[in-house]
Subunit: 284 residues, 4 copies
């Protein structure tokens, strides 16, 4: 999610020449030209991903394969030119090339060239969808960025708790899966321990494909226990994240709340229930 955090216009050339103008158009969205460029770019990305999807549908590929092929190459050449232009107009080439957005930009054009040697790899082009994330940064959807940051803060704060939870869940599915392998055996579809662990994950997460189901009375009883466990412990990650989002939201609201300003020293960071200024001791 570092995409969201990347500083805006940090890599702009210092001189005021055609490079910095190009930078304004390609990287920024303050000028009309810059805004139009971004809109055209995002529409192109979405269209090119759509073409890749259509190309994967057999009936459509058989009917319009050549056309789709041509469009894919058209967009790839377009994005290649764009990548080269980005490379030209940034101050530090290495910085852009090794930034997350720069790597995604490169990955978004590689698969088409790769498909010349490795047929089928053009489907990796869907990674282009990641470029659309740029929409948040470039179109300056600041409020959405703030909300995204709040979510990221909450998730970071809960990452250790979530790790402990996932570690426990993984230990649980390994043991439950192996038990089911011993109980049900290969004749009932639990062909191996990895397959049985897969079943345990499918059941514990309440996905429940139903391609493998227990047949023996003991297996049915154990699977019922697994389901009840899965249904109950989903409360744990939810509780963790909810608590953190609540804290983050409370802090966010606190920041926006009208403060209790002191007439004497002007300190505006008094709590709302303060009777005396915490800096100069004057009655509020």
């Amino acid at each position: 999610m570092a995409v969201y955090e990347e500083k805006y216009s940090e890599n702009k050339p210092d001189e005021n020449n055609w490079k910095s103008h190009l930078y304004e158009i390609i990287f920024e969205a303050d000028t009309p030209a810059g805004k139009n460029f971004d809109i055209v770019l995002i529409v192109s990305i979405l269209l090119s991903v759509l073409v890749v999807m259509i190309d994967s549908v057999k009936s459509l590929r058989l009917a319009h394969g050549d056309l789709l092929h041509d469009i894919e190459w058209f967009f790839t050449i377009l994005f290649t030119i764009e990548y080269v232009l980005r490379m030209i107009c940034v101050k530090s080439k290495t910085r852009y090339a090794t930034s997350i957005l720069g790597i995604i930009d490169l990955l978004a054009i590689m698969p088409t060239y790769l498909s010349l040697f490795l047929p089928g790899s053009q489907f990796l082009l869907v990674i282009r969808i990641l470029r659309v994330l740029r929409i948040f940064r470039i179109l300056k959807l600041v409020k959405y960025l703030n909300e995204a940051e709040l979510l990221i803060t909450a998730l970071k704060a809960s990452s250790r708790k979530i790790t402990v939870f996932l570690f426990t869940v993984l230990t649980l599915v390994v043991i439950l899966g192996s038990l089911m392998y011993l109980i049900e055996g290969e004749e009932n579809g639990f062909t191996s321990i990895p397959m049985s662990i897969h079943w345990a994950i499918v059941t514990l997460t309440t996905v429940g494909y139903g391609d493998i189901v227990p047949k023996t009375p003991l297996g049915i009883a154990l699977s019922s226990v697994v389901m009840i466990i899965g249904y109950s412990i989903i409360a744990v990650p939810t509780g963790i994240v909810t608590a953190e989002i609540s804290f983050a939201s409370i802090e966010d609201r606190e920041k926006k709340r009208p403060r209790n300003v002191c007439n004497n020293c002007g300190n505006d960071r008094n709590d709302s229930d303060a009777l005396f200024c915490k800096h100069c001791g004057t009655k509020l």
Copy 2:
């Protein structure tokens, strides 16, 4: 949900004649006649939706097709008369016709007429079920309306966070779906990228139909990761909405709390039975 917000009797004729009396019966529920009208209306709506449902069951349609057909026409003509009466008695016809309830009232009679030209379209009549939402407004279930408003407030407040979340989820399923298409291929049921994205949504949301399941070891491993992700990130929207509902509920409780403000220090958090301010000791 603007249905809930529509102001009551805002479109009543000013004069006190038969039109305003008709308005009182059809649009309001203060008079016995108005109340009875509403009860008959809601029962009619539910019955007419039931008839449409029965009509869709093949065995019942073959046995009682003509009767069901007649009842459908009976209700449609009834609701058409009602719509004309509503049109007649409102002050501003355009205002009613373009209001959400007015549009639903019209949509609720169209399909039967449409079915003369387009057989099968009579099943669209189930849209009539939306007319039942009127029950909240007309029968003055004020307390339910308050609760509904609280929920809507909470959902609106969390809409930006939910948008960021859904955007991330959609990006995730596009990439995961395409990966599975490459890993599993058409021979294992992942016939195209759109189909594989459908599988990713089915798995991530823990629905798990089981019509398409991974067969290759790598696909099974990746699907396990998708399930664990889906099982964990459901915590995010839940956390968002819970935090907002908590805030909305706290504000709702605050509003209803009797306030006992101190004239000396301005502290407004005294209990309702307090005789002295808890912060400065002044008699209240």
Copy 3:
């Protein structure tokens, strides 16, 4: 849940004779005899439910049908005697017979007699499991009762919000189900509107049996939308209940919290952050 609320020993005979002694044994659990009676009772209930379950398994019924039949009659006669004894020793017969526990006690013996005329109805005997709820009341698991009451309070407080939510969900599945019926049609398994509504419920609640799945591109797209909706709106009831449980828990903790006692008037209901007693204004 009124079972939990029923007052203890409210129906005890006033006189101190064999009836009140019998009442102490059957209804109360303060004496050793009363405690032993309850333990025997609960074990009998669980055993009799187990017998009904075993009786429903074809292979076991064919092998031990007569034995199971005899045991069912044994427990039924036992519980009939118990019911008669309960009737004899209570002060007000009508009060016991119309209480929730009294009705369950009666329902728990009826099916066996009914099975003489209506074969198969003996399986209704599983309703006896409800009698086990008595375990909370009789064995005086007071702390569990408190927690249960807290949950019931929270659920009652959120009942109106949950009603609004369920009403919205039901409207949604009627419309989504009908749409899928029109899109997919009878040839793809969506045989009628009620069946399609069933599919919509299966999908929205993320159960996902997979017995009916969309086949057309439009149906697959719509079903993806339904899944995302279901995955997201589960946040709403969770948020509602979590907020109410939090409030109930906070109030519960408040009650148990050491209060801020006034040395002057002895008032012990001052808030923890109070500086002056709210009743007499003395500095704390």
Copy 4:
């Protein structure tokens, strides 16, 4: 989870000889030798579990059975030597042998020896995965331990509420399952009451395998009700756990908050940067 709570180096020999040096290496991780031992141990555990998993895949077992067999014995002998060394260097042998970690250490070597008499029991070796829990304790991931403790505290605090909830759910599935057995009958796959209870659990927990699905109109209607119930009541455990995690997190934050107590009025909620008490204005 008592694994997390076990005190560190509580069983170290008092004398400073080769035993206490061995103890430092095997049980502790303060010395380089101790750290290396732990890393080698955890890698060995994971490898040995991996070998058991591979052994369960038929095609791999047929191809490399003997090799896998040898590796299993290699690790078992290794862990047996380790167990003996642990036994030698602890102060109290009984204490280690009866501790949770000691029992797991023993259980982790038993299955291989058992497989000499009972073929197939070597798959029980996956219990070794539990030994990896040691990673938290030994590698001193203190912060993770704190988070784990917070979660355990929250779950313990909510255990009574969760028990009441699970008790209600179990009563519900017994009654709903039996009802479905009567409605659907053996010809529709509901072959017995235990099987129908299994269906009720599969449906209520929203797992939804789809191996048994209702066919009769009444059964379909009831199953829809079960799904809506399951979808709604998942809010209850989530609400319980969320409330407790919030409380535990708040207390955790309170503990870490730097306190700034006023000597005059005793107010301890002053900000850390306050110079004057916010309630009485006294200099801090």
